[in-house]
Symmetry: C2
Subunit: 704 residues, 2 copies
């Protein structure tokens, strides 16, 4: 594997903390995301100012030239400096020289060598890469390294050797359930490149929409898309845009299930007579292509041939997930066919379908990839598996000889915190794979399913959480410091914005719309403390369809409340600071006062905003928790015992606040419980057994 | 004139204040922008809920159908309600019925009848219009009328008759000095339609860029655009997008001056030998087309013929401004030509050029429009004048028989407050025009010149100020309440955002980028109080080019600080509340505390942000003004005299704060002076002569 060729002195882990790691590594915090394979800080700095120029030697093609121009515009916007945008004509004047050994593959490939080395001294910087794609990755590192102090902008002296851990680092965007137009994808390609992701997996067809133009079978997109599809010209433009950034575009056509939108224009392909309409609700639907009919394969041959010509990538994804075969088993003709062909169950019939499909995919020169369900003893080993089931399933596939990528654990539509995704490793030690087997785990893909995601909120669902997943795919396995990745996410959040992300601004638009002329800051305070309910619980609480506007409270709240995390951690620090209880206390007091004061303003805004009223008594809860927090702080700081029953009442109040409203929940309640428990146990503090006291407090908090 | 046919009972003025106007007009505030010609509120309300459906009778074409679908999506996003998006199939179930008499012109025209009437009762709403464009205007009114309280969303019972005062209500966007891609124009077309503007004037060619593809003369865009131009296919798409919204697209090709970008690929057209490069700096440049050469007219004939076919609008704008003729007078050949043709000066030569140009424009079936300078006794009366010089110049043209539109007073790149633009009337009484002459004043256009504007900040330059100018062009002349337009701008600011504007979010991105990890709220407090220096002073303070990133403090500050206006008005109210000094006092105290507290955090953020450091001591000034404001409040409220010298020192401190830094100035200093003067004069308050005291305070404040 090309990406394993480098033998790296991985000191990244040591560099992650602010403590010095060793003799060579200075005590400079690594402000890079993802963390490179190896970082060695030197002494001195290279100025970044209006005469910062870049030159290139070796391979200098248009892709590199355009990438340098884009990087310089971004550096310029990031710094406010007027920096020339073209490659320097006089190489001796250049601050940064790029040395590229070759252009890399014409079509980005999973075999691409994406490594680079970057050396910055006080005199100059040199970025070396075997391919232009490697140079692109290094340019992003240069942009992240740019730092400022009163003396101006600079790059710190440093030596970086970097190469990705996994060759397949993807993001799936579901453009079918909710339509995502070109500009959404383009800006997210820029952001993917910024964190060194290299695969955009487009989920192009679903029950709810057929999103790609077919010139051979125009009824597919004309009747299956509400007019929202990519023309082939647009798709070519998008692929070129991705290629310019060293990103592959892998198309997915999900069959035989998840295919209602195909059947609107081609009901004859269905396993039941039809007619079919575009599906507007969410879930696992019954419609499926009929695997027993030759005309189905004929159309697939024609359509996939067309797509194979449109999409240059080596892989073609055929979905294959979540077909329960209900339509199949309800059809006499199909069950007769199964009997005749000795196919015991729907899974066997789907394997039959997949075998014929594989022949078509291969005929058109592509490698086939599908979800877990494509695995079947009858299928050859060159089918690649995308696992939504988990690393164990992926490991078993690898043992059987299949290559695969992991998506389980990276479903970013489930509203889990970064920490939960970050700890998922595509290659956990527990798999016990041989090196050969391990090499079959190509990498992973984060999945942005779009039941609750549209162009107005997709960025806030993707960023900055996706940056942490990108680090998992790129950085050495030893890079696992959760707190540090949060620190760097916060650092690079505005940097992602200036590069085009709308993960913060999109929320602002929705908050102001919810406030309807009420106190925006107060409404923002509440929204900033809540998170949508996790997993698929949202649909249990409120049925939505493709037409439900994504401007409600649960669309406005971000999947992870960084403010709640801050509060929870501040309370941790305060309680750990016993018996002084001084750490974070002022900050928490200001926060609690804000909650207390914002409550009434939000209630009053609710009077003019039915959508905000969905939050029910959450404003009152927040205000009450603010008051309660201030009381707890006072008890702790004054070393005075709360009155009898105070803690029980407070914990009961917190419990009341747990109830989901507007499909959302407060995210700082664990901290609040800890704070109340600490106040409750304040009098019991024993300096000789601080640890015991902490444990007691945690038990009391856990008792709710 | 079609737009004068309606005889309207204009009661809008009365409705603008919250006081009841008459027997029929209820004391409901008109929350519409622009204010319609006539509004009569009734009693009752029509529910807006998930079963709000729209039906249409009479003319129901695709334009109407798509407009209804778009309006319903917006209503849905605005309210959070899941509202069906298609025209109702069962008309009896519809809440709103649209009755259209005809489709209107296939190509939007300045003769279009854009009027509509809207009647809302507790049972149903009816929108009647002579054209689909009129119905589109009415649909925007429906969206603005939607209101909510605890019982839910509704339309108030109302009868509206509405028709525009002027037929030409435009926005010029300069896409040449800074490139503005499709998405910027598309979202701004949506917003223009939302406030009933009907002309997008594209300034397509300039010294700094040639932004439209020419298939006949590809060197024009290929060499003159840095690759940033509209393909003809894109322009067709944009025109279709505008047409769908009842908006005309008027193209401008600015010649004979402002034409450097033409000469990069066609130096032979220039009046000096060349070679030419795309201009990167700002100002009035020398290059001009050579009016003495037949090949110039030959190319213009070919190129403008191509453009006349591409742009369906009846008008073609040829610019014609700011050519001083320096290149002409420096050329022996050209001066000889002038002598030979009896052309006394460059103005005469330009008139000669314009006459030949007019023949070309007319040959291709278009009406010619140009800036003031095109006016010349030799030119026929069907040339339309766009006046950057002012209503007087426009009035004189009208008296001479020329039609014209006003842009002077609407240059929104100059960073003037809304109030200044709002009071400019295209047809001031002072012109003393006959009705026939007055009819020649077709309307006006706001101008968004783009020296300091790019896709990242254009929305904050346009909105919400442009909405007030749109009202000037649409609403009756009697609608002139400045405070009320500010109130409605604030009301509709989030509504414009949910419709796609980025006027608030764009600033947030830049503030966070400036803060560089520092206290974002504190930095935002400062940025929210300052405005870029007015007119063209910015260029005097800091030379910029096309490559200067527009991410600096002066790009981040909005052209008008609504927060400073709020503070100034709160101080007005406080001082007018003598001798109680209670009105707004708490609010001001909170504001001043915020300034005082934010100062140090901003200074500390400056340490890591050279771009923020451009603001110099502004954070200290803001903090000092906060302290000073709190002192003044204390003197006023405690009726205690400040110590000797306090007021002089305070006014001196304010004077220090006046200095521009980062090409910006504080916008609340007039209020601060008033506050200090009031505190200074507190002891002199005489209840028997409150007005005299107020005057004394104002004099003291004015004395600085």
């Amino acid at each position: 594997m090309r990406w394993c060729r480098f033998v790296l002195s991985v000191i990244a882990c040591a560099c992650l903390s602010s403590a010095p790691a060793g003799a060579d590594s200075r005590s400079i915090v690594v402000n890079l995301l993802p963390v490179p394979s190896s970082v060695q800080f030197g002494s001195g700095r290279l100025a970044v100012d209006a005469s910062f120029e870049i030159s290139a030697t070796g391979t200098v093609d248009d892709r590199l030239r355009h990438a340098v121009a884009r990087a310089l515009v971004r550096l310029s916007r990031q710094t406010g400096l007027e920096i020339p945008r073209e490659l320097a004509t006089d190489a001796t004047k250049a601050r940064l020289t790029i040395v590229c050994d070759g252009p890399g593959a014409a079509v980005p490939s999973s075999d691409e060598n994406e490594s680079y080395t970057l050396e910055v001294t006080a005199d100059r910087a040199t970025l070396r890469a075997p391919t232009v794609v490697g140079a692109l990755r290094g340019l992003e590192t240069v942009l992240q390294l740019a730092t400022a102090d009163r003396a101006g902008w600079y790059l710190p002296a440093v030596t970086i050797q970097d190469t990705p851990r996994f060759r397949w680092r993807g993001l799936l965007i579901d453009v079918a359930r909710h339509w995502m137009p070109m500009d959404v994808l383009k800006r997210n390609l820029d952001l993917m490149a910024a964190v060194k992701l290299n695969v955009l997996h487009l989920h192009l067809t679903e029950d709810q929409g057929f999103r790609i133009e077919s010139k051979r079978y125009p009824s597919l997109h004309e009747k299956g898309s509400d007019g929202n599809f990519f023309t082939q010209a647009e798709m070519k433009e998008l692929i070129a845009y991705a290629t310019a950034r060293g990103i592959r575009v892998v198309p997915e056509f999900d069959i035989p299930g998840h295919s209602t939108s195909w059947l609107v224009g081609h009901p004859e392909l269905g396993s039941a007579p039809g007619p079919y309409n575009i599906e507007r609700t969410w879930g696992i639907m019954e419609p499926a292509l009929d695997p027993t009919r030759d005309e189905v394969y004929k159309l697939l041959d024609g359509f996939l041939g067309e797509m194979a010509a449109l999409f240059p990538d080596a892989y073609l994804h055929i979905g294959g997930d979540e077909n329960k075969g209900k339509q199949w088993m309800a059809s006499e003709r199909i069950t007769a066919f199964m009997k005749q062909h000795d196919l015991a169950d729907p899974h066997a019939l789907q394997a039959y379908f997949n075998k014929r499909l594989l022949a078509i995919v291969q005929k058109h020169g592509k490698k086939m990839i599908g979800w877990d369900e494509v695995l079947h003893p009858d299928l050859p080993k060159d089918v690649v598996v995308q696992s939504w089931r988990g690393p164990k399933s992926l490991g078993e596939a690898a043992k059987q000889g299949y290559s695969g990528i992991l998506s389980n654990g990276y479903y970013i539509d489930l509203n889990y915190p970064t920490s939960q995704h970050y700890v998922v490793d595509p290659l956990p030690d527990s798999l016990n794979l041989t090196p050969e087997e391990a090499a079959r785990v190509l990498g992973g893909e984060a999945c942005m399913w779009s039941e609750y995601v549209d162009p107005g909120n997709i960025d806030s669902r993707l960023w900055p959480r996706l940056a942490a997943i990108a680090e998992r795919f790129w950085s050495p396995k030893t890079v696992t410091d959760v707190d540090d990745v949060y620190r760097r996410m916060a650092l690079f959040s505005p940097w992602l914005e200036i590069a085009g992300s709308r993960h913060i601004t999109g929320q602002g638009v929705l908050v102001r719309n919810l406030a309807k002329g009420g106190d925006v800051a107060a409404v923002g305070t509440l929204i900033g403390l809540i998170e949508p309910v996790k997993e698929y619980k949202r649909g249990d609480l409120h049925k939505t369809t493709q037409f439900t506007p994504l401007t409600r409270v649960s669309d406005t709240a971000q999947p992870e409340s960084f403010e709640a995390r801050r509060v929870n951690r501040a309370i941790d620090a305060l309680v750990a600071d016993a018996p002084r209880f001084s750490l974070s206390a002022d900050n928490l007091a200001a926060t609690f006062s804000r909650w207390r004061d914002a409550g009434p303003a939000i209630s009053s805004a609710q009077a003019g905003s039915p959508a905000l009223s969905e939050a029910g008594t959450m404003p009152e809860d927040m205000a009450a928790l603010g008051t309660l927090g201030l009381e707890a702080l006072a008890y702790l700081r004054n070393a005075s015992a709360p009155p009898d029953g105070w803690a029980d009442a407070a914990l009961a109040r917190i419990k009341t606040a747990e109830a989901p409203r507007a499909e959302c929940q407060f995210a700082m309640l664990s901290g609040m419980r800890l704070l109340v428990a600490a106040a409750d146990q304040r009098a019991a503090f024993d300096p000789s057994d601080a640890a015991g006291w902490q444990a007691k407090v945690r038990t009391r908090a856990g008792a709710k």
